[in-house]
């Protein structure tokens, strides 16, 4: 039996009603979800599906209105526990500008370990290592505002890496980036998972990103409506469309071409089509 890193048990989260009369709003409704150690899970859903709120509960920023959240065996039930949990799972947010604290790249990466009270020489080592992992070591003395969006997000990821957390939750890290930046960040995320073995929870609304995960969890209206491998999920094109979600373009192309099996990535798509054409095309 694999070990669980994050356990959500019948979790509900309701935003409180405002004083001016705006009614409370239930973003997540009775959700149970286990994330195992070393897994790469994509949480897919369109705007307002509750996926961001779910992410914030996994990191104890929000406490569930009902139900329980357990991270690495620690039950989240107080502020102090929250701090303990954030040493185990880090988080990267959507807007790269609003999560960088320092005016120099390496200082920003050092911020997390500094807060944890790590020895200065050890911080230096971790910062260098983290920056090398995300491929930003050469730019370590630059000012963050002079970097591209993709580079800023990689700095943010390095910031979590330097804290040496077991897991990392990324809340739509590529939503504000251009295609190049998106690819850079996605490659980095995949590397973290495959090479370093960090548990990754990627919140996204891009199908092509979800395809890269080991497991896809689909959310709609605050509930989990599907949970399985990318191939299982994207084979159900009709079902996804009912919940205003799409399938990756390669999958859609192959479906329209009338292929039986579910194709996920452009590479697979090319291979399939060329094999159908008798292996002539390359």
């Amino acid at each position: 039996m694999r070990e669980k890193l994050i356990e959500l048990n019948n979790v509900t989260f309701t935003y409180e009603a405002d004083e001016d009369g705006t009614p409370g709003y239930t973003a997540v409704r009775d959700v149970s979800l286990d994330i195992y150690k070393g897994e790469f899970v994509a949480v897919l859903g369109h705007n307002g599906s509750g996926k961001s709120t779910l992410a914030k509960m996994m990191n104890a920023i929000y406490e569930p209105t009902e139900g329980t959240v357990t991270v690495n065996g620690i039950l989240v039930d107080s502020e102090e526990k929250g701090d303990e949990i954030r040493r185990i799972v880090g988080m990267v947010f959507q807007n790269p500008d609003n999560q960088i604290v320092a005016t120099i790249v390496e200082d920003d990466v050092a911020f997390g370990p500094e807060n944890l009270g790590v020895e200065p020489s050890e911080i230096r080592r971790r910062v260098d290592e983290a920056l090398k992992t995300v491929g930003m070591y050469e730019l370590r003395e630059r000012e963050p505002h002079k970097l591209s969006g993709g580079q800023k997000q990689r700095v943010a990821i390095a910031g979590v890496l330097a804290m040496q957390t077991q897991g990392i939750i990324l809340d739509e890290p590529t939503a504000m980036l251009d295609p190049t930046g998106r690819e850079e960040v996605l490659k980095t995320i995949i590397r973290l998972n495959r090479e370093i073995g960090i548990t990754v929870v990627l919140i996204t609304h891009f199908m092509d990103e979800a395809v890269q995960a080991d497991r896809v969890v689909v959310m709609d209206k605050g509930e989990i409506i599907a949970d399985g491998t990318p191939r299982e999920i994207f084979a159900r094109g009709e079902f996804l469309r009912e919940h205003s979600l799409d399938v990756p373009q390669s999958t859609e192309l192959c479906r329209r071409l009338g292929f039986e099996e579910c194709i996920l990535t452009p590479a697979e798509c090319v291979e399939k089509i060329s094999s159908v054409l008798g292996g002539a095309a390359q």
């Binding site: 999560q99 320092a102 005016t103 120099i104 200082d107």
Partner: protein, 271 residues
Amino acid sequence: MIRDITFGQYYPGKSVLHRMDPRMKLVLTFAMIVAVFICHNFYALALMVVFAVSAVLLSRVPLRMILKSIKPILIILAFTAVLNIFYTKGGATYFEWWKISVTEKGVNTAIFTVIRIIVLVVISSLLTYTTTPTMLTDAIERLLSPLKIFHIKVHTLAMMMTLALRFIPTLIEEIERIMNAQKARGADLESGGLIHRAKALVPIFIPLMVSSFRRAYELAFAMTCRCYTGGNGRTRMKQMKLRAADFIALLLCLAVIAGIIVLNIFFTRII
């Protein structure tokens, strides 16, 4: 336009000045700024100029960067020079016409003041060129840490300063974006009288305020996620240590200040 501000812009390097303890740099910069003001004749001022020039050479910051820091104060320089030339009277008269006269003392004062301001700006911008803002706020935090006994939250103040510095470029970009967005909707920001223009800025600043609050909120989340709980129990990656170079710099600065005092005593006062 506003993006050109050189203040607080770090110029990466590995010179002696870059590697000095920021606390010592900060204290010495203040000391030397005071020293510029106690100069009372050209000999003392010349010593100060020699000091500033050698500091620039030691820092290996290119001359063009130094000139860039002087550029914004050119108008102030011209203004002070003109005022001093025409309003300070004394000594031989070089030029006289109607009620306007240019005297020896006026010219001397003008030159003196201009050099003094330039030296002032060069010394202080050298501090920001060779020290990252983070290091600088760190240094301030440590220098002010004795104030803790008066229950002043020194760490919080330093953190606020770092964040303010960090967000200046971000907010400038934001202002430009909002201005363009409003112009695209037909906002007229350039014409009309003062009141009209001030009113035209309202639709710029309201979105700016709103988005700043949103940023602050998100930043607080992000900082919480990285286990920030205030100054207690925090360590720092970049340790500050006084080294031989710092003490040599201290001695040099003390020597320059002593030199200025001696020159002040032995030569006549000009200003």
